[in-house]
């Protein structure tokens, strides 16, 4: 019983409750770096780490946080985890840290993290909260990664910095510029809503 519930907690954020498609939440902090797959991977790993661990921590403390200052406490816990991500990046991958610039810090205001904490972690036990946070992070990761793959492939002819398309390929420079991000995300949302979501509403 408990196991199947945990599995449900894990699967739902990947599919029909995906934070990006259904609620269009939390794209602010990462969309800007989706012109390169590598940067996106690092950012989404940071988001997943922060979502999972802050959900877990807040769930542990849920009976001790006074509800009046709850938002403040939650923000502080999230910020603490983001600082860990920032310091680790700065120490081990200084090049990557420089490229990501302010976006690592902006993970704090990523609505997905606060959303999962408010909607799930405050009313559930630590383990399910950890699973829920981790799964939401993964659901977020694969959507952003697919945007990044499209943008980098069309915009620079490469994936992960490795040239895929030959010299015959003319780079679509619009793809690596800001408008490209808007268009690719709009198209992905459109496709998903027309196919996956439609089937579900029929069933």
């Amino acid at each position: 019983m408990a196991k199947s519930k945990l599995r449900k907690t894990f699967v739902e954020p990947l599919g029909k409750n995906n934070p990006v498609f259904v609620q269009i939440l939390g794209i602010c902090s990462t969309l800007a770096v989706t012109n390169k797959v590598q940067n996106t991977m690092v950012m989404t790993l940071g988001v997943t780490f922060t979502t999972a661990l802050s959900s877990w921590t807040i769930s542990l403390l849920r009976n001790h946080i006074p509800s009046r200052i709850r938002m403040m406490v939650e923000t502080m816990i999230i910020a603490a985890f983001v600082i860990i991500v920032d310091i680790v990046l700065k120490a081990f991958y200084p090049e990557m840290w420089k490229q990501l610039g302010p976006y690592v810090g902006l993970i704090i205001t990523n609505c997905i993290i606060m959303g999962r904490v408010e909607a799930f972690a405050l009313n559930n036990k630590p383990l399910p909260s950890l699973v829920d946070g981790f799964a939401s992070g993964l659901g977020y990761t694969y959507v952003l990664l697919s945007i990044a793959v499209v943008r980098e492939l069309l915009g620079s002819g490469s994936i992960w910095g490795i040239r895929i398309l030959g010299s015959w390929w003319t780079n679509w420079s619009i793809m690596i510029m800001p408008p490209g991000g808007f268009f690719v995300l709009a198209i992905i949302i459109w496709v998903i809503r027309e196919t996956v979501m439609k089937e579900e509403s029929h069933a």
Binding site: G26, S29, G105, L106, P178, I189
Partner: protein
Amino acid sequence: MHNFAIFFASIFTGNILLTTYLGMCSFLSVSKELKTSLGLGAAVVFVMATTTPLNWMVYQWLLIPFGLEYLRFIVFIIVIAAFVQLTEMALERYSEGLYQALGIFLPLITVNCAILGASLFMVIREYTLATSFFFGLGSGIGWALAIVAMAGIRQKLKSAKIPPGLEGPGITLVIAGFMAMAFMGFSGMIALT
């Protein structure tokens, strides 16, 4: 001269919403009505123009002397939250009309990534105090301009026939893409560094 360049660049070529996607969440959800987006836009301009120089002072005069730069995320977000809270209380007490107009938008602003983003950009680009004020003001105006324009377009769109899967966020993102292209047209004039 330099400050004015930064000011105009942050409104147009480096528009914080259209080039760095910051503040998307409230942009997508609030841009349905012209009146509410005007209110939210005004609140963002005010908060951004005040918290960016405020955070500059905190960062330069408190965090750097004590070697606490790594705490900037927490400190910035506390400064922003506290400032928003104080403004809300002051408005409620002294200006009934302004509170009615802006009050409900203020709590939304603490979680608006664009506000924190402006402060973080200010640190990375090593602005001076005056420049950070102009940068905050310009970014706020740019954000407000984008959301008000979007609300106007979306009101016209109500009578348009849109494929069902593209309704709502989808079409908003497409329009935002076109707006970003239009704003990029200014980039030959001034660049934001």
